[in-house]
Symmetry: C2
């Protein structure tokens, strides 16, 4: 019982020296990666860099205890940070105390929503997010995030509320104002990050660029030449404070809190499941919600903005050999030590370096291959991805994700409303009934049409069946019997039961009998309640098409 809500109990009981060694190395590597990323994502969210470090302490420890993944690296991530910026910048000036206060309230709200979803077992909702939708909006969000760093990279002012096209246009028009040293540091950082990632993956690129560019600024006095630097990062631990709760702010932040809860959970559970399946243990998606929820709630009391499990840091954590949540606890401890002793070291860190770190991190999220792959397998799924991508890029993440969900569900409904169907003929050699279009030699029968619809029948496709039968009887006016092969009819709703009933009676009036073969058990239960067995008796109870044809030649 305890281990259900505190999964860490399972691994804590069996914790040993081997685990400890592996976890401490992974914890160190992730900490080195997380320190610059945490600061960078905080700035992306419109917050002072230190908030990103705070968000990399307590929430990690709490998640390690309550989450069901043992390798998930929780903390600030790009997408959630962008959502925080979008939501809170409508209410307060980025960087202001008021902004920080709203961001902490948002973390509390996200935590409460996620915990409530977990306790009410709503984790299954994530199933309704098609992978095509996730891929489309992740790619678009990555582009939005990358472009949002353009201002820091070029050292110019750009409107923060413009859409992608506007932002690019402004950047081009202000090219003459680009600050050379800033751009130089930024491009050098990007180059180093890309080269290290590709050729020396063992050495953490972010650490290298942070050290190199900080030294460059310090050595050449670049901050006096106009290069923007991180500046003073307050040292010491975050104090325990209650987020400022007022009803008005809560209602205004609610839509963004719901989006963050859902998007954060989705990102987290996707990567957690991938790692868990490789390691042979299981992720309970409701317990994931509980873990993330508690981490965000308690984090919000220690000045942390909303966190979730990140794709790339989890991959690094896992590859570095993390065995249990203890790795994350080590990461948190290292960052706490950094907060106490080493915040001065970040004084000369150029903002362009943080921008470069974000840009390189999100670049890998733009996934063109997936779109090509979907188009190859089933075009309409490719279009779902493209529509989601375009909607996200042209509006925002919340609208984009809603458009994506709606599109993917409409596609499903659409296909079920116009299902595949076939007139069947008999293949004498094989003894089976097949589509006469695919098998032109299939034998058909005088005065009899055998017809199959490959879909559950319900209100939206019953008219389709009606029209098909009308066409068939028009093409073959001497038809006396229609045999419906119900083998692929997996379900029916009450509306379809009634309308098919009515249809059968109408056709009776025209002198055409509709018979049904291969009706499944659950459908039989349904039509029994509508009195079909009294009305149609044997006509709808054939166990095979053969049987229905036999009955007719005897009659």
């Amino acid at each position: 019982m305890l281990s259900k809500y505190v999964p860490s109990v399972d691994w804590l009981k069996r914790y040993n020296g081997m685990d400890f060694k592996a976890d401490i190395i992974a914890g160190l590597i992730v900490a080195i990666m997380l320190i610059p990323q945490g600061m960078a994502y905080a700035m992306l969210a419109g917050l002072p860099p230190v908030i990103g470090l705070y968000a990399s302490t307590i929430p990690l420890i709490i998640y390690a205890l309550f989450g069901s993944s043992r390798q998930l690296a929780v903390g600030p991530v790009a997408m959630v940070s962008l959502l925080v910026y979008t939501g809170v910048s409508a209410l307060a000036e980025p960087g202001s105390d008021q902004f920080v206060s709203y961001a902490l309230l948002l973390a509390l709200m996200v935590g409460v929503i996620q915990l409530a979803m977990g306790l009410f077992r709503l984790g299954f909702l994530v199933n309704f997010l098609s992978h095509a939708v996730i891929s489309g909006f992740t790619s678009a969000a990555a582009i939005i995030i990358g472009l949002s760093q353009l201002s820091d990279l070029l050292g110019i002012e750009l409107p923060s509320d413009a859409n992608v096209v506007g932002l690019l246009a402004e950047a081009v028009m202000n090219l003459n104002a680009v600050h050379g040293y800033t751009l130089g540091l930024g491009l050098a950082s990007i180059l180093i990050l890309v080269v290290f990632k590709k050729y020396v993956p063992k050495i953490p690129g972010p650490l290298v660029v942070v050290v190199v560019t900080s030294l460059a600024v310090y050595g050449f006095n670049l901050h006096n030449q106009g290069v923007a630097i991180v500046g003073n990062v307050p040292s010491g631990l975050p104090t325990l404070t209650m987020p400022a709760i007022d009803w008005n702010s809560i209602t205004q932040l609610l839509p963004i809190a719901l989006t963050i809860s859902f998007v954060g959970f989705m990102e987290s559970v996707a990567v957690a499941k991938k790692v868990a399946s490789k390691e042979g243990y299981k992720i309970n998606s409701n317990q994931e919600l509980n873990g993330l929820g508690v981490a965000n709630i308690i984090g919000s009391f220690f000045s942390a903005f909303p966190v979730t499990g990140g794709f790339s840091r989890t991959a690094v954590n896992y590859q570095a050999g993390a065995r249990t949540g203890m790795a994350s606890i080590f990461t948190a401890v290292l960052i706490i030590i950094t907060l106490i002793f080493f915040t001065d070291w970040f004084y000369y860190l150029p903002q362009a370096t943080l921008a470069a770190i974000i840009m390189v991190a999100v670049y890998s999220l733009v996934d063109v291959k997936e779109a090509v792959h979907l188009f190859k397998i089933r075009q309409i799924d490719g279009w779902t991805l493209v529509i989601t991508f375009a909607a996200t890029l042209l509006t925002n993440i919340e609208t984009g994700i809603l458009v994506g969900i709606a599109t993917s569900l409409i596609v499903f409904i659409w296909r079920s409303a116009y299902p595949h169907s076939a007139e069947l003929g008999y293949l004498e050699d094989e003894g089976v009934y097949r589509n006469v279009d695919r098998y032109p030699n299939a034998k058909t029968f005088d005065n009899t049409i055998i017809f199959r619809v490959d879909e559950a029948l319900y209100f939206a496709n019953i008219a389709f069946l009606e029209n098909k039968l009308e066409q068939l009887t028009e093409d073959k006016p001497d038809t006396k019997r229609i045999i419906l092969d119900f083998a692929p009819v997996n379900d029916m709703d009450a509306v379809a039961v009634d309308e098919l009933d009515q249809l059968m009676q109408e056709y009776d009036d025209y002198g055409v009998e509709i018979h049904i073969a291969n009706m499944k058990g659950p459908i039989k239960d349904l039509v029994a309640k509508a009195g079909w067995f009294d009305r149609y008796e044997d006509r709808i109870q054939y166990l095979s098409i053969d049987q229905s044809l036999d009955q007719q030649s005897n009659s």
Copy 2:
């Protein structure tokens, strides 16, 4: 070609004396019914009664020529009139010239939308309206319409914008102010209408109550005792005028115009199809849209508010023997004659009588039987009806219909996300594979699970399949093979293809092989594009479960 867009050409060519006799009788009977109804529905819409008569002239003739139904009785109907009131009363004072002007613009907009839908062949959209939804919102709308007449029936002022509960509460609180003569005339009218409908259906009740109550008012001077009467109805034909078109009004009226276009079309096509199927001819739903569209467009130039085909008048028209659209043309001619010569006769007609006519007409639309029937066959469809009913009653028709559509589609998606599934066993006597839960004697196989999911696989239910397989292999840890029976899998999307692919590879890693039997042609085409035949070869190509088991015992 001509007869495609002007279906009347078909019957005009063959028109004969027998048709003429039948049509003129039906035309007369409908006219007698339509005159009071037209005035009553105009008042329900917040318009002067004469507009209801105008709407019963030109549009009927135009529809007779362009519509595809030969018996549909077009004209003012209760639901559309209520929608006109709801939409236009937000912009102008009911009864005012401005109100009339908006109502005519609305008719033009409805006509243009319907014609455009017809030309773009969007008639199929009506298929997405489940009968459960139609029944639920029709019942609720009937109650709203009936209660809206309470004010005229009781002779008291009631707030016109209150919802059903508020209206009833106000009526009860004002019971002491009820005007006795008015209520007496109203109740007498209801009694006469009900009795004639039930016992003397040959004699048109509306005509009787109009004559009797008008004479009563005239004879006893009741209009000087406070009984509200119709008063002066201008005589003569409507003049040709252009509706006042301005962009601002159009944008404000657009939502209600869309709702009326859709609801009107739906009501019309439902009753037209019912009659056509009895008479053995066909309704083309796109041509119905064209016919209604042109009728509303041209009507709007002759002071007509939006019209559509009505349930009850069409039934009367058909039962009275109408053979062609000529019956409607006779109805229109009789109403034109009335407009020219007899409008004075309506002077003493009490408004309470018109209220009684509306109440009795809509009462029959409240359909409790359908709800009971749906609950009996499939509970969830009954709930769809109840939710639509409640949403319509508590908010309004537009919201109600949207809630209904959303509910019915969510139900469908929900069921497909949690489909029926079964572990199969072999029935030796019958030689078939069946659900082991239904057939406990079915033979199962060592180390092998045979599993069937009765649904197309797509993004929203692939996790369901994943969980089911996980459960099954947990329950039977010695499983080496899982055979998926793909016979009921009618469709797959690209996401399901990818995730099942991944699942098969994961299970391979655990030492459990997933095999697939009975894969259908369209699915084969799909997975071929994803490279499955190279990767899995024979494992996914069994033509039957037998075959897959044979292969395994040989291997």
